[in-house]
Every structure is written in structure tokens, then in C-alpha cells.
Amino acid sequence: MIRSVMRRVVAIASATALITAGFAGVANAATKTLTIGDVSDPAPSKYDPYAYSDGQAVFFEALYDQLFVRTAPAAARGVKGSLVTKHTLSDDKKTLTLTLRDNVRFADGTKVDAATVKANLDRRNDGSLPSYAKFGAGGTQEITSVTTSGDFGVTITFKAAQPNAAYELSGPAGFIVSKAAAKNPVLLRSAPYGSGPYYLDANKSVKANTYRLQRNPAHWNKAKYPYDVIVYKVYATPQAQANASAAGQLDVTLQPATTSVPLLKARKVGLLSKGGNVYFMQWWDKLGKNDKFTEDKNVRLAFSYATDRDALVNGLFAGDRPTASLVGKTGLGYSAALDTTYKYNLAKAKALLAASKYPNPTFTIVIAASESAQTEILKQQWAKAGITMNVKIAANGGELFGAVRTASMGPFNFDTSNLAAWTGLMLNSFPNYQSATNAAISAAFGAYAGDNTSAAKAKALNEAIVNEGWTMPLRESFSYTGYKKTTIKPIKIGANGNVWPLLTEILPVK
């Protein structure tokens, strides 16, 4: 009797489970879902798109429409209207006139109109909004007035000429929140107020863990967005994100850690990478004022020969590229010759030191705690050449930045795809507190400044800086985006010029 009852219970339970699973399967097959995994919460404290930057744009693009959307390639700084149907820029490039789309509504039912756009832009002096800082008083694209004409006409006047005025109203600065939220931004602390192609399903979202975005069926441009649901997952650690990606749970893996790259490659996750950020040791002192030996260029270069960059990268920075070139491999002015010249050569390092007045340089470096692993490896490598480096962890930011004046060298990184910016800084700002001069670098900088599209001149400048022993590059760091090859078409550097794609650039294989 008992057995018979048990059998029935098991049979009913199995049938129920199968039927439920079947329905769930059917529902999943009919719903196109995009799962994105990130290691940072895109909206940790509020859903205010102006409070964030490009890195979070893929999340906010789903919730908010923009005035203009960017078009590839990024270097062209091209845009096309999104909420804007027509725009004209005055001859003096100071006045931008917009005509808005008249059929767009926010999730709260109100219409996108000129008054709403004005209410948004009127927040430009709120200091807590990074993407609006450029429009505020004293900003690089300061707006002096915003006026409306009729329901859908907006005139924006800039303080100075803005040849790319429309471009400035794309990306994070181009999002438009509803009038109620623009006038009372406190509302954005608990919910998004947008007109975007998706809305936040608050019942299925858990703060800092999962945001579920459902398709807005009334969106004016819904055909452009192929997914019915976007699940945006937030991972507490890069390893958890990498595990989920390697296990095939994520369609798009936003900015995985470089240390996760070998695992992702092994598990055949597609990877888009962008380099250009070079980590280096900067010689703050080139005149021997803090440590006498720094006056000798050959001693400074001996440090470079004594550095085993391959070992450093293999030991600590899997996914980075060891390099002695100040410019990354795809940047204008990359020098393969520098990579060859400054290959690890302990004998040469020792020879250079022996030939100098300072065969055993001894000095103290002041670093942030986060740099201690890299510094420890360098310390051991340099010790083999007879160099003694004492390491001091800075107690605070003041001590760390003060080291620029009192120490010989320090770790630094910069996106050197903008070589002119770094050179200008290096010659004229804090990295050169002692006002050292160098004819070779200045000449190369002058030549490059006069022709900043010339790869040869950029390369010459790169080589001058490294060969003169002002900067000692160690490694090129990369940013990555991972994508599941079976579900997502290969992601490329797109309209925003960055490794993270726009939402419209994430397309399903089928």
C-alpha cells in the first residue's frame, strides 16, 4: 500500500517537473536574452546617467535615449540623430539648434519634448555629474543658455565655438531623463526614468547582483535592438566573472581582468582587446639631485637592461605585453627596435654600471601599496646587477605625490597613444620637478608637434624618450571585452572607440 502511494507520488512529481521544465524551455526559446557580465555595478547608488561615464553606457543605453548616437569609426567623431531629427550649427559654431522627435514617451507616460531637454541641460552645473561637467561653468564645452521654441525645438548656445557640438551631446552626456526626474533628481536614486528601448524589471532585479531589463514594446526604434531581455549581472570578483564566462553563462563579458584572459582564451571565449596603456618607471630625477647616480644616462639605461620584462609579466600580469616601447603596439610611433634593444641583458647592465662612477646604485623608492608586488620583482631583478632599491610604502597620498620631488624614480602609467600629451606632461609638469632638459627629446617633440600624424616622427620621439633614459617602459596593459562566439557576432572597436561596445553593436549570431 505504502509502496503504491510512493510510486504515485514519484510519478506525479516527475510528470510535473517535466511539464514545468518543458514550458520553461519553450518560454526560453521564444525569448531572446542577452546576458552581460560586469565586475562593477553600473548603477551603485542611482540610475542617473550623467553620474557615470562611457564605461557604464551600455547599461544606460538600454534605459535612456540619447540626443545623438555615435557612429563608427570613433576617430571621425561622427553622430546621427536619435531623439534629434534635425540639427543645425551656426556659422560661428556657437549655437546648435535641435528639432526633436515628436513620438517618444518616457516610461512614466510623459512625452520627450523641448522643455524636458532644457530641464536636463539645466543640471549642467551640478558638480556630482561627471558627464555634464564639460557643459558647466568653466567646462571645456560650457553652455551659456538653453532655450526652447515650440514643443520640439531647442537652441543651445555654447560659450566658445564647438565644431563638434552634436558629438558632445552623444554618449553619456546625450542621455535624456524625464522632466520630473530632471527637476527632482532624487527620483533617480530608486528607479530609472527613461524612454529607452528597455525598462528595468524591478521585481526581477537585485541591486548590485542582477538587473533584468525588458524590452519596451512601445519604443520608437525597437527594430534596432534584437533582444527581448537583457540580463546584466554584476560580479563581486573578476575571478567569479571569468568563471561564469568560461562556463558559457555570459554572452558578453565586460572588461575581464587581464589575469582572466588565459582562462577565457582556453575556454574559447572571443576576446576584443585594446592596448595603449603603458606601465613604466619614470625617472623623476635626471640631474642627480636626489640620488647622484641618476645624472648618468648610462646608469639609468642599465636599469632597463637589468629588467626582465617577460618574467615580470609572466609572474604578475598575464594578459599584458612586455615592452620597452613607450607607445603600445598598435599606437602611432610604436618602436619594435626598442623591444629588441632593451631585451633583458644582465651582462650589459653590469657593464654599463661598471663603466660608470656608480657601479652599485642605492636608492629608496616610495610607492603605493598596490605597486608593491611589481616593485618587489624589480627589486630582485635589479639586485642581480648590483642595484639596491629600498622600498617604502607611502603612508598617504601626500607622501606618494611628494616622492616626485624627493625620489629618483617611481611607477606610473599613461595611455601613450596620445604621445604628445605624455611628452608635454613629462617635460613641463610634475614628472620633471627639477626642470631637466634634453636636446634630443625636445627636438623630436618639436618635429612631432609640427606633424602629429607622422608615424616616423612619433617613433623618433618615442625612441628619444626611452633612449635618453627618461622613461623606462615595462608593459603594455590591455582592456578586454569577451563574447560568446556561439551566440554573439564578433565584437569590434566601434563607435565609441573603446573596448566596451555600444548596445547596438552587440548582435546575435542568428
Binding site: P44, S45, R189, N209, A247, Q249
Partner: protein, 313 residues
């Protein structure tokens, strides 16, 4: 019985009160203020002070405490200082995940622990030594290490189960169950090893009892002696440990929830502490304490049911 229930209810209320006082004092001693949390970078000193005044942060602590307790008694857990979300909804959502996780883990812990412990005690010899070594290994291995091992083996290198994430039962029951398998295993195995040890020693003690020897002499079948009489005798100790183990699992899900990216109470309180979200911290502490009080009460009831000596006290 009524006296016992009333006594435990009183003790439970006292525990909740102490937890409320301690958590209230600790969060008020934390550096910073809710105004700084809520307004972030945009908060100038005036607006921070205005915000703090508006929520009564600058009132005497006693007044604030009474107001907070009054709100709790009215059934509300308040709202977050960070993003104003309703904490009753937030914690209801999160506690479901932690509850599923903890309940499944404790059921598995109990079954595994009792089966292994009884087997070791009854079989003895080589089986006992092997099982003892295995349980010693799992007692030594922390849950997070085992969790990482499970993720690598069953999700990353053999994608049989999800490496992380949680699916609602209503969305997809199969995916829901799959999302819990690895975290439950990670939580259960460590505790099961401990329970197996307790079960083994309790069973060894039980089989040496006079009434068990008498049953043997009377010719009662061995299976009946072991699984009915000896296990019942041993179960008093086992049930007490299972109750404690549940409390440990419920309170210790933080690491496992984080590793598996589960939106439970553990990750919730971790975020709340990180963001200095005072109401969220206090609400989570109170809810967790309440669960602990109820669990201990149920454990004591079960012990009374199983042990006549305890009932007689």
C-alpha cells in the same frame, strides 16, 4: 510545555533586543554619516547636515533607538539611505535565496552526516577508518576552497552546472535547481563531515547502552536495534548539532553567496556595510537574529520530543 514555550519566547525577545541594541550602537559608531552616504560626492556640509536632520540622525541615541524599534514593531524595515529602496521588499527577496540555500544545505548535511556517521560506527574496521579520514579532510577544508574546486570541476572545465548566478524557481525550476547544486554542496560537505563525527561517537555510545544490550539479548533484529533504538538514542545529540549547524550555515553564506554570485542576505549585508547603508545593516542583523532564535527554538522542541529526560526537567 506552555511554560517552556513562554520561557523560550521571552529569551528570544531578549536576544532580539540585545541584537538590536548592539547593532544600533555599532552602526552609530561607524565613521561617516547617512548624509554622506546618501548624497555622495555632491553633498556639501550643509546638505549633509540637512539630510541627517531630516532622518533624525542628530537626535539623542535613545530617541533614535525607540523610533527605530517602533518602526520595526509596525512591520517595516525602513528604506535604504543609498537609493531609497524599500528594505522589506529587498530583504524578502534576498532571504528567499538564503533560505533555499541554507535549507537545502542543512538537509543534505544532515542526510550525509548521519548516513556516514552511522555507517562508520556500525561497520567499524576499515570502513570506519576510511570514512574517518574523509571526514577529517572535509572538516579541514574550508567551504570557500571546496566551492572554488566545485566551480572549476563542474562549471569551468566541465560545463555541467552554472558557475554562478541564481534563477527564480518561477522562471525555470530546472535552472533554479541547477543554480543551487554547487553552492549547496559547498556549504553541506563541511558541515556533514562534522555531523558524521558526532553521529559516529553518539552511535558508539548508544550501542554500548544497557537497553541496547538487552534488546540484543532478546534477539531483536540487528537492523532494528541500530536504525530504530540506537539511532533514536543518538539523535538527541545529532539534532542539537544539526540545529547549530543550520545557524552556522545561515550566518555563514556570505562567502559562498559571493563566490556563486547569489543575491542572498550575505551579499546584501556585505554591500550594505560597504556603502554604509545603516538601515540595511540593521534590518539584516535583525532578520538574521530572528531566524537564529526560531531555529534554536525548533531545535530545543525537537530535543524535548526525542529525549524524555529533557522533557521531564
Amino acid at each position: 510545555m506552555l511554560r517552556f514555550v513562554l520561557n523560550r519566547a521571552l529569551m528570544g525577545l531578549l536576544t532580539l533586543f540585545v541584537a538590536a541594541v548592539v547593532s544600533f550602537i555599532i552602526v552609530h559608531l561607524m565613521p561617516g554619516s547617512p548624509g554622506e552616504t546618501a548624497l555622495g560626492a555632491s553633498g556639501d556640509p550643509q546638505s549633509i547636515k540637512a539630510f541627517n536632520d531630516s532622518i533624525g540622525w542628530n537626535n539623542p541615541w535613545v530617541v533614535q533607538f525607540v523610533d527605530w524599534v517602533r518602526m520595526l514593531l509596525s512591520g517595516s524595515l525602513g528604506s535604504s539611505y543609498v537609493d531609497n529602496r524599500d528594505l522589506s521588499i529587498e530583504i524578502t527577496t534576498r532571504i528567499q535565496v538564503t533560505a533555499y540555500l541554507s535549507l537545502a544545505a542543512i538537509v543534505l548535511t544532515a542526510i550525509l552526516g548521519v548516513v556516514v556517521g552511522v555507517t562508520a560506527a556500525v561497520r567499524g574496521g576499515v570502513t570506519d577508518r576510511i570514512l574517518n579520514s574523509i571526514t577529517a579532510f572535509f572538516i579541514a577544508v574550508p567551504a570557500f576552497w571546496f566551492a572554488i574546486f566545485l566551480i572549476l570541476v563542474f562549471a569551468v572545465f566541465n560545463p555541467l552546472l552554472p558557475a554562478s548566478g541564481y534563477v527564480e524557481f518561477s522562471d525555470d525550476p530546472i535552472a533554479w535547481a541547477s543554480s543551487l547544486v554547487l553552492p549547496v554542496l559547498a556549504l553541506a560537505v563541511h558541515g556533514a563531515a562534522g555531523i558524521a563525527r558526532i553521529t559516529r561517537s553518539a552511535m558508539l555510545e548508544a550501542v554500548g547502552q544497557e537497553h541496547i544490550r538487552t534488546l540484543r539479548a532478546m534477539g531483536v533484529p540487528r537492523q532494528r536495534i541500530v536504525y530504530l533504538h540506537a539511532l533514536r538514542f543518538a539523535s538527541v545529540q545529532i539534532v542539537s548539532v544539526i540545529g547549530l549547524q543550520f545557524v552556522l550555515i545561515f550566518g555563514g553564506t556570505v562567502t559562498v553567496e559571493q563566490l556563486f554570485q547569489l543575491p542572498g542576505l550575505g551579499t546584501g549585508i556585505q554591500r550594505a556595510i560597504g556603502m554604509h547603508d545603516v538601515p540595511a545593516i540593521q534590518a539584516t542583523v535583525m532578520v538574521t537574529t530572528f531566524v537564529v532564535v526560531i531555529t534554536m527554538f525548533i531545535t530545543e522542541l525537537a530535543t524535548r520530543f526525542l529525549d524524555p529526560k529533557v522533557r521531564a526537567r
